[in-house]
């Protein structure tokens, strides 16, 4: 079984997408993560759900976790409102990590190893020319592997 047999279309966001919209997409479609594409539609980065949440959490709470405790309940409930029009690009970590991307002929083991190594619950499948074909989620991968 190859990536081409498992791949399904997958929604994407761009780096200029507001973080709040990205979070809505994640929650609305129960996605395990998001694929951020560049102007040519090629994967730029792939973010697990927790990383998308990290984009939305105020930077000061990440620099100093103690501050998350001092915010009162009413303000904590609506922390996403403070994001305003902040975009995905503005919130991305500086260091670039390995991109969980495979070509259509990748085996199940290749994909599983890549997910485990990059700690990402999905891999993007791209054509040899870099165009995004879709993605394979951890759920889908495990379903197929366990069904055999």
């Amino acid at each position: 079984m190859r990536a081409a047999d498992l791949v399904l279309p997958y929604p994407t966001v761009r780096s200029d997408t507001p973080v709040i919209e990205a979070a809505r997409l994640l929650a609305g479609q129960n996605l395990p993560g998001l694929i951020v594409v560049d102007d040519r539609g090629q994967p730029f980065t792939i973010l697990p759900g927790t990383e998308v949440l990290r984009l939305a959490v105020p930077g000061y709470c990440q620099d100093d976790p103690t501050l998350a405790r001092v915010v009162d309940e009413a303000a904590a409930d609506v922390f996403l409102r403070e994001l305003h029009e902040r975009t995905v690009a503005e919130s991305l970590p500086r260091e670039r990590r390995e991109l969980p991307v495979v070509e259509p002929d990748a085996t199940v083991l290749e994909m599983a190893a890549l997910m485990a190594r990059t700690r990402t619950p999905l891999v993007a499948v791209v054509e040899p020319d870099g165009a995004l074909r879709g993605a394979i989620t951890l759920d889908a991968l495990l379903d197929r592997v366990l069904a055999q």
């Binding site: 620099d63 100093d64 001092v70 915010v71």
Partner: protein
């Protein structure tokens, strides 16, 4: 000068250019320079590692290490967040009052701890408070970086250049307190007035927003009361031991190291985790610098520079002190003030000896300290605290440009140096006479 001496000058000049331009990491530049000094024979293992005059200054390294250990534990207590938010609430959410309180907290903390740690702790709280108040955080962050450099000037442990100066001059913690702290208090009063004018557009008061600050729960910042109490007791004991270190006959480095290790043991925290928060690259950077500067001592370069400086300034202590103050401020604005002071210390030591020793000519050490510490405020790269604040601001999406920082920093530096110059003249020449 010998060929080796010229080579040593070339190596240190190249390393300083690399440090100032950040073409390569400063640790790599300092260590690379140290290795080259060993290779060209400007120093050797015996002198680099064991010589008090031209080797690694272990007093400085271990004083920094001890203070870093104390801070690594202290920052886990939430005490800093508690104090900052509690104080901010006393300002009732009025932006200028909030700024005054935050810069005062920063200045006091910078005097007790190191500047970088202080801004790393205060900046996230500032971002939270500014978000609650819906005011731009940049003016507050810039003011805090400037305040940390001014506040750090007051004590031996407040700013790394002071630690180097103390080790090279033999001046005590109390000497720094008596000679620099009164001026720093005056500078802070003037600085707060400057903040009112420099950042006047940032002070837009909104009573509704002020309520959001008053709703913050500072008590929740403290989870482990035992750890807090132990940390405060050790910090107080260490500060007391610094004050009494000449009576106790203990080097400040021993006081800091013992304090750090006692706190680490008493805290019951995972030592490996705490040790990860020690800025090891900074300690290695210092070691590399000391080997490079020591090579200049070994090859006679420092002696020649010191002789030239003594000849040029012979008998004119007032002029020397004023030139040293201003030149140190200008140079510290351009290059990191740590390598500058590491290089200048042996020269100033010779100047002090030539002008009658520590009794009558110690004013030169104060000129060096004030120039280097206050000069670090002039540009965004003048001091490590400035660089850290710019990094935190960028990560939070409120980018502060080099020039945005520098235009405020320059004004503050010019004003503070303009006050320090007559202070030196009055205190050490007019009133001393």
């Amino acid at each position: 000068m010998t060929t080796v001496a010229w080579l040593a000058v070339a190596v240190i000049a190249a390393a300083y250019v690399l440090i100032a331009t950040e073409w390569i990491h400063r640790v790599a530049a300092a260590l690379g320079g140290a290795v080259l000094m060993l290779l060209i024979g400007a120093t050797d293992a015996e002198r680099a590692f064991f010589s008090e005059e031209s080797g690694i200054d272990w007093n400085v390294i271990f004083l920094l290490l001890g203070m870093m250990l104390i801070v690594a534990v202290l920052q886990r207590t939430g005490a800093f967040e508690f104090v900052a938010i509690w104080a901010t609430k006393r300002a009732r959410g009025r932006p200028f009052r909030v700024m005054v309180i935050l810069v005062l907290v920063t200045a006091v903390a910078s005097a007790l701890l190191d500047n970088v740690t202080t801004v790393l702790l205060i900046a996230p709280v500032t971002l939270l408070v500014c978000e609650r108040l819906a005011v731009p955080a940049a003016p507050f962050l810039i003011a805090e970086a400037l305040a940390s450099n001014i506040g750090g000037t007051a004590t031996l442990v407040g700013d790394p250049p002071n630690i180097i100066i103390a080790s090279r001059s033999g001046l005590s913690y109390n000497d720094f307190l008596v000679h620099l702290a009164p001026l720093v208090v005056l500078l802070m009063v003037v600085f707060i007035g400057l903040c009112r004018w420099l950042f006047r557009r940032a002070f837009i008061s909104d009573p509704q927003r002020a309520e959001a600050v008053m709703a913050l729960r500072e008590r929740d910042a403290i989870r482990d009361r035992r750890l807090l109490i132990i940390s405060l007791v050790v910090l107080a004991a260490v500060t007391a031991a610094f004050v009494l270190h000449t009576v106790l006959d203990l080097e400040p480095s021993v006081v800091a190291l013992v304090g750090g290790l006692v706190l680490l043991a008493a805290s019951r925290l995972n030592a490996e985790q705490v040790a990860k928060d020690v800025e090891w690259p900074t300690l290695v950077f210092f070691a590399g610098l000391f080997i490079m500067v020591g090579s200049l001592v070994n090859t006679g370069v420092i002696d020649q520079l010191a002789t030239a400086a003594v000849d040029a300034t012979e008998g004119r202590l007032l002029l020397t002190s004023q030139v040293l103050l201003v030149a140190s401020a200008v140079l510290s604005a351009i290059v990191d003030n740590i390598p500058y002071v590491a290089t200048m210390s042996p020269i100033v030591a010779d100047l002090v000896q030539a002008n009658g020793g520590i009794g009558s000519a110690q004013v030169l050490w104060w000129s060096l300290a004030l120039g280097a510490d206050l000069g670090g405020n002039a540009t965004a790269i003048g001091a490590s605290a400035n660089v850290e604040v710019l990094g935190i601001a960028a990560r939070s999406g409120q980018r502060i440009s080099f020039w945005q920082f520098t235009k405020y920093g320059l004004v503050v530096t010019v004003v503070t140096i303009a006050i320090a110059a007559p202070y030196i003249w009055l205190r050490y020449f007019v009133l001393a006479g």
